[in-house]
Symmetry: D2
Subunit: 437 residues, 4 copies
């Protein structure tokens, strides 16, 4: 268990010198306000010493003193990686808080991810104002465009210098945040005074120390629609099988939540729980039994599930540096067809891959609210001179989390926890479809 | 701050004696697993002694040993009070977990709230099974029906005896849970061995020690639609004013979240923040200024807001024992019309009261999941022999909370907290529209 | 039956002199292309002479020759009366076709209905271009604003002259179109060369010689949601009654279609079918019987139904010149409550008036398409020098209809037709709840 | 042009002998009530002789006398072919009208299409009643299941005899209706007295002499969502291209209407309008030009478009006897990628195939109403002793159409008509991307 706190990152906070101007009715937060990372208590031993010295997170919110002079501050926003519901909400929230909350009117929208920070690529930054962003939350995607993959860190910091950017808000996932940390390092190396604030984006909901990532709730609500389609297709055919591939490279959150919301799924396959295809306890035999008994089945598979069953070279990566996954959806489609053909059982298999439909919708009201508060807190942090951190929500409180902690690992479904147990009960699938488990 | 813990309610837990049969893949929880109620840490003083001895909650989940013998157990479910999205999801979850998780097949649905527990009223209980509840989550309301108001506690316990009910699941709000506590008392007085497990229902999201109450997210998402209508009406007329009354008797959660999600509201009036109508700093003058400058305005008012402005007898109560509120919506409609008439400013005022539309919709996917897990944990608690408690989620963990703690107070919007500050920034309304504030 | 055709309005078509520039791939229509108004045939008599000489409508579409010189033409759009889904779609379609289809770039958006055509009221017209209207169809209402009521016709024609408007597109209902006809007359009186093209808007779907009016399908789809809420409220209470008031001043289309789509309504009351409250065959007795038998009931009442039961002065009118209706919804709410109270039967009555929610939503995809084609045809007509007419769809073909024919009467539900028979079957209500019927 | 009328099919109507019992408030229709198929009039020639003798359709509706004795009649319903929104609505409407309208209580649901009419396959028919079908319209698909492909006609008529079925309602497309016609022939050959009534189902909206087919409006509304996703994906990437494959084997209705509703598509490719890939006027060059100018593009392609570009054997057919199409979507995806690669232009291409999501949703309110009235009219026809016909809506009137006429050809988008012209204007695509055109 980690014992360091954000306090030890003292070097990444600048000297605050400006009175806060305009934060209405605010109970200011101080940097001494923390919440415990781990709130578990074991009453048996009459003590909770372990907790006392544990990791804690700085509570987010407006500070009484701010670091940057609003009149002379330039902020910039960059959105990277795959689409995710809510990015436009975050952009809108950042611009609104910078403009109305702090009087910062020099706000640049960097186009097409980190690509737009490499000036020789020629993507002109877009000046942002309340008028420009006023309605963007009604549309999916990101009004700034996005791209995958890293760019030259020195070139990006050159751009920050040439464009006079003081605070860079980076909206992106794992790879993007690592890029953000590298930018921070280069800024420090050059002795510059610039902040980098991360706003974690992952539709997979797999960022450590976050209750949830924005867009996740919208996403699994969309996934439920795909599951319903698969269910309808399955029950309307003789031995109908609906197979839905959902997001989830390393974590099965979208799959599990779609199962729990729809209550129509019979098998849920996720990266955290290995399974085997063959053998009397394998997935195919379980599916055969289900079809024999109920004449239809719905299967949800996360894209990262069952990778060990595929024969891909594990070293291949995509532009974002993510390991390129084999396509478990098409693989299962093929294997299921072959299996039932070999059993001489006619089936009707429909394969649905709704990924683009899920990730490109506008955020739901829940995510509207979450993104809006998240963005405000990112601005509070940036204006207070924080850097090398991201904003997140932990145990229902918005907090500051050091970048290096977050990108050290991923959040996963606990195969012994509430969620997975509920999934098993909802699907009725065997608890164990692997000799290894 | 309270210092007691659920441990002190030891008398309400029965002797466990049955091995748990069927909880798949479960990491069992023990009654020693707790989470701290307050996770705040002040790093300045290098100590968090206050927290160490603080209130903590038993973690919910399946227990290794259970109290009731599934084969001879009769469970019953009763739903009381106003409609709220998700009640059918909870009913479904209870039945599914009882039936499939524990093998309890004697499950009675009590009709029309506590009314159905007074046998001489003649409402026949409905036998529940997985088949009966299989699709009910696709419909709003409660398949069991509901009613308001208390009933004779001895008569209700008579019914529990006559129907042979061992575990009663009570889904309802403040008044209902008080009724549940009274039933527990009567059960103890008679020396019976019956459990009462509460599942808190309040569309207002105002139950203490709960991250959120089920249905709330669905509800404010519906409220956003009403706000959008009001916005469209307002901008399409000369000096158009859209006035929306939302739920929120004692707490303005629905109003505040609808404001944050829609970003289209100019005034948000909630019970927690008093305001005055008249005077140069009053609401009407602020509205006049807004109309003069922008030609339209959208107002959200929680039903419990501004009660001090109404001349009602505070002692009047409705069938549920709730104080009968004056209708602030119609009051404001009238006052605004008079005011602008007296100012000789023509306005077009549209008044929208979407309450029934909000409360009767089916639960959103987020609430589907929440209700499902909540219900499962209620069953785990009931089967383990717990009583006089409710299940809830606190700091992202499902917990057991003693009934008496929950009904002692209400959760409210903190006028100095994140949410209200975000609302003020979103509306641009004056921070203070009251001499008192 | 009318026998005149649009041909006899020859004086309202100007001399065409410009070759059509840009209508892609068009099969041009000529003014000789008509469709028969009445396509009924009685095979028994072996002849259909009646039809041959019957009313027919000019088919809409681009003409080979156009009247106005695009480079020197100014078009204007005005939207009047109550909100209706699809108005923004029509505005968008007009601008897009004028700009891209004909090269007309002088397009004025008149603000707030006919009010904006009275220049001394000071509403500046809004210049419209593809960029301005590009996304407006995603929002409800009208981006131009609207108002009710007539204005001085000479003043409005003064405005047309001063603003140099050649073609005025008028989007509105009955009263608005009558205003349009008056403007045409004044234009002719002054010997001006200006076109007025009507685009009929009525959420009630009650315009003569139109298959459907735009927005109607969106509207009744919204109404279905309100009916569902009422149904949920009704079934969840003991003797629950849900009462929904829907639009429909003179015609019960929205009510009837909401009944047919929802299949959850037990009584549908519309203006075309009188009913009585009292007596053994009256509505209240029928309702009592339904409640006794089924314990709940859902009632849909069109706002214009049962007016003969209300004691209002029939000469009162609103700003648009519409007869002011008594509020049948509140009246029924009161009467039903009294009746059951007098019968000593406890009921729970929920009254829902969703009108603003229905009329302010964005158009559904079906209406998007309909509005878009309707608008294009309005532009084709205007550019071809037509005037004093509206565009509509009759028997699935887009046509030109003379203004004077349309405003002479209203379309109504036929109490002996398909729709009403289906409603009776869906509700199971008595065919006759009136001594008069 | 056809000149025959349904009258000439006199042999397929039985002798009517029963008074109609229960059709409430009905204006009965007689078989002499017809509407003209063609309502076009050319005013230039002062005559419309052609029309007078033209094809006309019997008007649908309840008849004063009916053929079948309700007490001794068995009806059956079979649903065949691909899923389509609204099938459950039709089933519900048939059962409700049979049961409540005519007192027929022997109603069988045939399982899994024509497969279920081959008794040795062992699919037990499902007895249908109002209770069983009461809520099915809230779910997509068909509660009876479906299958593709023909079955032995004699075996199916054997089943009709063995199950005592008097009226068979057949819900299906082209192939299914041909099967229905073959069943009628076999019935006549055997001298039996059984009716076969078709209810045309085609999500492609391509049935001759039908204003629209049920489910079509729901379907293209879903397609709009997929187009929106593609649009978001396209605008968020550098040179982003969104490619959406939609239904439309022989007709591009879904594609065209999705284009018109969304107004976000730049290329629409349909079967009716051939195009070439290569050459200076080909599709790829037009796409390159669009990308160069606007940096993104959205393409909609109907599955039947561009088949001449694919090298498939035209004689291959699927189980329903439909010609197996090459996959134009994947083909275009490949060709576009190759083309831009060869041009050295980086693109981001997202391919979306939403077919299952489109076809499996519940019907929209518009389709709810349409299906409900369609089904009622099917029952009226069946009970009146009609056979060998289908019910449809033509020019806004419900009519009877002889099976043989309908299956003789398909309805198509007219490349010179309103719809295609509007599509060209909405997309801005070249009118001609083919040397052949």
């Amino acid at each position: 268990m980690m014992t360091s706190t954000i306090e030890s990152l003292g070097d990444c906070r600048f000297y605050s010198r400006l009175p806060h101007m305009c934060c209405k009715g605010a109970g200011f937060k101080t940097d001494s306000d923390h919440i415990a990372c781990d709130d578990k208590v074991n009453r048996e031993f009459g003590s909770d010493a372990a907790q006392r010295d544990g990791l804690s997170f700085e509570v987010a919110g407006p500070r009484e003193h701010i670091y940057y002079d609003s009149a002379n501050t330039t902020a910039a926003i960059v959105t990277c990686g795959g689409l995710c519901p809510g990015v436009n909400d975050v952009i809108r929230g950042l611009v609104m808080e910078l403009w109305h909350g702090y009087g910062v009117t020099d706000i640049l929208g960097i186009r097409y991810g980190y690509d737009g920070l490499v000036l020789r690529h020629g993507h002109q930054p877009l000046p942002l104002s309340p008028e420009v962003v006023s309605n963007i939350q009604t549309f999916g995607g990101t009004m700034l465009g996005t791209s995958r993959g890293p760019q030259s860190v020195p070139e990006m910091v050159d751009a920050l210098e040439q464009l006079g950017i003081d605070i860079l808000f980076v909206i992106g996932g794992d790879g993007t945040l690592k890029g953000g940390a590298a930018i921070v390092e280069e800024i420090h190396r050059r002795g510059l005074r610039k902040s980098v604030i991360g706003i974690p984006k992952t539709i997979d909901n797999d960022i450590m120390y976050l209750d949830k990532s924005f867009g996740f709730e919208t996403a699994f609500a969309e996934a439920v629609k795909a599951v319903s389609c698969a269910h309808v297709e399955a029950i309307c055919a003789i031995n109908g099988i609906g197979l839905v591939k959902l997001m989830g490279r390393a974590s099965g959150f979208i799959g599990c939540y779609a199962v729990l919301a729809s209550q129509q799924v019979n098998f849920c396959l996720i990266p955290e729980v290995p399974f085997e295809l063959d053998g009397s306890r394998g997935f195919l035999e379980a599916l055969r039994y289900r079809i024999a008994r109920r004449k239809h089945a719905v299967i949800v598979v996360a894209e990262g599930a069952g990778q060990e069953l595929l024969e891909t070279k594990p070293t291949e990566t995509d532009a974002s540096g993510n390991r390129r996954l084999g396509d478990i959806g098409l693989f299962l489609k093929r294997e299921i067809s072959h299996f039932f053909h070999s059993c001489n059982i006619p089936i009707t298999l429909k394969y649905i891959d709704p990924s683009y439909a899920i990730r490109s919708v506008p955020a739901s009201p829940q995510d509207n609210v979450y993104c809006s508060i998240l963005a405000k807190n990112a601005v509070h942090a940036g204006m207070a001179g924080k850097t090398n951190m991201l904003v997140g929500r932990w145990h229902d409180t918005f907090v500051h989390i050091p970048l290096r902690i977050v990108i050290s690992d991923r959040r996963r479904i606990d195969p012994r926890g509430d969620v997975w147990r509920s999934v098993l009960e909802a699907t009725g699938q065997p608890r164990n479809m692997s000799a290894a488990a």
